[in-house]
């Protein structure tokens, strides 16, 4: 059977083109790579190259023909051992066949595809419950900073593949002292000072993770990680999927996130919603020292890329941490910080400071608020939120990030879709103001959420304002 040479598509959107010129004539010998014809589309003139060796047996579409459909047979090629006699046999029906084929292909492009599948349901993610803390476990008052350090040190002792890299993590002992003492205990092979080169060392970390190491990449702040966000999103988050599960990046990106104090617009931004948007990432944002420790240990052990969002202001705050050999918390599980029955506040990270104070204030006015610390932004424990809403029928979210497409906005939409009938009032999302962070002290204060705003929001959803 002679080989059909088909009208090629030059792009996925091309449907037809003009056959402007035949370079080879009937009877010419052709080798792979030889230009045999020129075709023309509205965008370009392109050369058609031969793929197989043989003799151009018959030209089926004359030069100058316009509107030749993609995949129409334009010529027949005789390969070794074939003669013109074979040509006659095959040539009786090529055009009809070709047009059928073209139609078949057009049909394949229809959305109701041959796979015949409707969109499968997204898998449900169920996080394990927090581990039991045995009766009588000693609770040690620990700063968030120490808790994070302890988590890294414990995991580095446990697993030689874990190392920490970043700016000033070693000899300087950490720009915010989170890595204090790690160099002394683990040496400069495992505690690696990098140049100021976020995009580069984020990528180096991901590459090391591809090779099976378990890097902890510290960003001096997540504001600087914007230089590295391509490596985080395109390389770390997507590779497992793009590799069909063959390889991924067991890596932790951590560092302070969000507004500190008086450092203005470029140094004061919350990335919870940004990273929360990306499939392939886990995003953790703890509030208490115990959560910081247990979740960072979990993040380091997790085989996936984890974004671990800390906060400079929280670093120095102390919380009780259970004294246990191996205190690991589940990623993806919210924590009910305070039970209540009248309204629910959901927050995370430093947002919890507003939530907790507002709840105390409201208790004095007879409103019993349930406060949920989300702890993990992705995967998000909406079940815990919805269970609470079903009980209190009122919801306020609190975060420092910008209001549009915020974490709170996502929670509100999910609650509306899954628990609309349980809501006695519209959800209110308390967030940072829709402005770059100002430097002036008074304006900065206004740009951030306040306890008063949270109190007011809870009263509003309770119709008691």
């Amino acid at each position: 059977m002679p080989t059909e040479i088909l009208m090629p598509a030059l792009s996925p959107t091309m449907e037809e083109g003009n056959l402007s010129k035949w370079i080879k004539k009937e009877g010419d010998a052709v080798a792979p790579g030889d230009v045999i014809a020129e075709i023309e589309t509205d965008k370009a003139t392109m050369e058609v190259e031969a793929v197989d060796e043989g003799t151009l047996g018959k030209i089926l579409i004359a030069e100058g023909t316009e509107g030749v459909k993609v995949n129409t047979a334009i010529a027949l090629l005789l390969t070794e051992g074939e003669s013109e006699a074979d040509l006659d046999k095959a040539a009786s029906k090529p055009t009809a066949e070709a047009s059928d084929e073209a139609n078949d292909d057009a049909e394949q492009d229809e959305p109701e595809d041959k796979a015949g599948g409707s969109v499968p349901a997204a898998p449900e993610v169920k996080a394990a419950a927090d581990p039991d803390i045995p009766e009588g476990t000693e609770m040690v008052s620990t700063t968030v900073r120490e808790a994070l350090r302890d988590a890294m040190a414990e995991e580095m002792r446990r697993d030689g593949d874990v190392f920490v890299m970043g700016e000033e993590v070693a000899e300087y002992q950490g720009a915010y002292k989170v890595t204090q003492g790690l160099l002394q205990e683990f040496g400069d092979k495992r505690v690696v000072d990098t140049p100021i080169t976020e995009h580069g060392f984020a990528g180096v970390g991901v590459g090391a993770a591809f090779a099976g190491l378990k890097p902890i990449v510290e960003f001096m702040t997540f504001n600087f990680a914007m230089q590295a966000i391509d490596q985080i999103v395109n390389s770390a988050a997507k590779t497992l999927y793009m590799a069909g599960g063959q390889m991924g990046a067991p890596i932790v990106f951590r560092g302070p996130n969000g507004a500190a104090a008086r450092v203005a617009a470029q140094h004061s931004q919350c990335y919870a919603a940004w990273y929360g948007h990306i499939p392939g990432l886990k995003v953790v944002m703890p509030y208490t020292a115990a959560d910081a420790k247990g979740l960072l240990k979990a993040a380091i052990r997790d085989p996936n890329p984890v974004i671990f969002l800390e906060n400079e202001i929280l670093y120095g705050q102390s919380f009780d941490v259970p004294k246990m050999d191996d205190f690991v918390l589940p990623i993806g599980k919210a924590r009910i910080h305070k039970e209540g029955k009248d309204a629910t506040i959901v927050s995370f990270g430093i947002g919890m400071t507003y939530a907790v104070k507002a709840a105390e204030e409201l208790a004095g006015e007879g409103i019993d608020v349930e406060v949920i610390d989300l702890r993990t932004i992705r995967p998000m424990d909406l079940d815990t939120v919805i269970a609470s809403v079903k009980k209190t029928n009122r919801l306020v979210t609190v975060e420092e990030g910008f209001p549009q497409s915020s974490v709170g906005a996502h929670i509100a939409s999910q609650v509306m879709q899954r628990a609309f009938d349980y809501l006695d009032a519209p959800v209110i999302t308390v967030a940072g103001k829709d402005v770059p962070m100002p430097y002036a002290a008074n304006l900065e204060k206004l740009a951030l959420p306040s306890v008063a705003e949270v109190v007011e929001a809870v009263k509003a959803v309770s119709y008691r304002s």
Partner: protein
């Protein structure tokens, strides 16, 4: 740029980081290509021919609408990956950008799996979820296949970091093009690789055009072997159309890395015959230029002529190789068209472990 220094940060005195300072690295002399023996010539011929025929077939399937999206062909550049592969040890890693089909075949990945990935089928290397630009093989130490220009350079540097961390003697072979060579993250990587003496061979495949922009129109320094100079990384220019020259430079470079001297750059001067991608009409260069490269410098033709001149293979034997390669490619194309698309359940798999 204000680097936040918290109130808790104490000042400290600077100490010199060991290994960071030192005299400029003496660039090794470009090696003279050694003649291949019969076995090497035949191996190089077959491997390059496989890539060429595979790419021609991929171009054809693209034309038939069976391959979607972007498809960047490697035709013309075959000697680079084949010569380098002949210099490498089993544990050495390969990583590259989006013009990656040749690299995959050179590492020994199956033509079927690569072609089926191009057509988006379930037995493609990435189960059909990666496509032309995003393919991997853990088994063959092929770390992608990356669609973002230059992103593979820090990643490849990270592979080398892991080699050094583990104390094994593997080398990361990190490929990128003359276009990617102008990305900032390349130089961030050079700095760290040199600072930490990482075993990485940076291969700049200079095919003269970053998409449609000629090197001289995009690059202040067009000698890419000099691109590492301010990081004390030596570089060598190599005739990337001559597989013997590539192997000689590759041997030198991997030895350089394995002996603990840190990174090295090889600028492979090569040429792509086809457009940047399938939809590139290549109006930025003349047909004569392409034709001259094809007729005078073709990497496969060079080997073929030597095989014939040395009487190491006659026309029939070469035809037999051609036939074998054609069968592999034909089989891969057949497979890539009959293999089913991924099951719809795969939509939600491989996102998290």
């Amino acid at each position: 740029m204000a680097r936040a220094a918290s109130k808790t940060s104490a000042a400290r005195s600077r100490s010199t980081k060991k290994g960071a300072a030192g005299a400029a690295v003496q660039a090794p002399k470009p090696p003279k290509p050694e003649d291949f023996d019969k076995e090497q010539e035949l191996h190089a011929y077959r491997e390059m021919l496989l890539i060429r025929r595979f790419e021609e077939k991929a171009g054809q399937l693209y034309g038939m609408g069976l391959i979607g999206g972007f498809c960047h062909l490697y035709i013309g550049q075959e000697a680079v990956v084949v010569g380098m592969q002949m210099s490498m040890n089993d544990g050495d890693q390969v990583i590259t950008g989006y013009r990656d089909h040749g690299h995959m075949l050179a590492t020994g990945m199956e033509a079927r799996g690569v072609m089926a990935e191009l057509t988006g089928r379930r037995n493609g290397y990435s189960k059909g979820k990666g496509g032309s630009m995003h393919m991997f093989s853990k088994e063959k130490k092929f770390y992608g296949g990356h669609g973002i220009v230059g992103a593979q350079v820090p990643l490849g540097t990270g592979l080398a970091f892991a080699n050094r961390y583990r104390g094994d003697d593997s080398v990361s072979i990190t490929y990128f093009g003359d276009g990617a060579a102008n990305q900032g993250q390349v130089y961030e990587s050079f700095n760290m690789a040199s600072l930490w003496k990482l075993p990485v061979v940076y291969i700049i495949e200079n095919n003269r055009y970053a998409m449609g922009t000629a090197v001289a129109r995009s690059s202040a320094e067009t000698d890419f072997s000099h691109r590492g100079l301010s990081f004390k990384i030596p570089g060598i220019q190599v005739d990337g159309m001559d597989v013997r020259a590539v192997k000689a430079a590759g041997d030198l470079a991997v030895d350089w890395c394995r002996s603990g001297k840190g990174p090295i750059i090889l600028e492979m001067q090569t040429y792509r015959y086809r457009g940047h991608s399938m939809s590139d009409p290549a109006k930025y260069r003349s047909k004569d230029e392409v034709q001259k490269m094809r007729s005078e410098h073709d990497p496969i033709e060079q080997v073929k002529q030597r095989l014939v001149a040395n009487k190491w293979a006659d026309e029939d034997e070469l035809k037999a190789i051609d036939k074998e390669v054609r069968e592999i490619v034909g089989d891969s194309a057949e497979f890539a068209q009959t293999d089913p698309e991924p099951d719809v359940s795969e939509l939600y798999t491989d996102i998290l472990l």
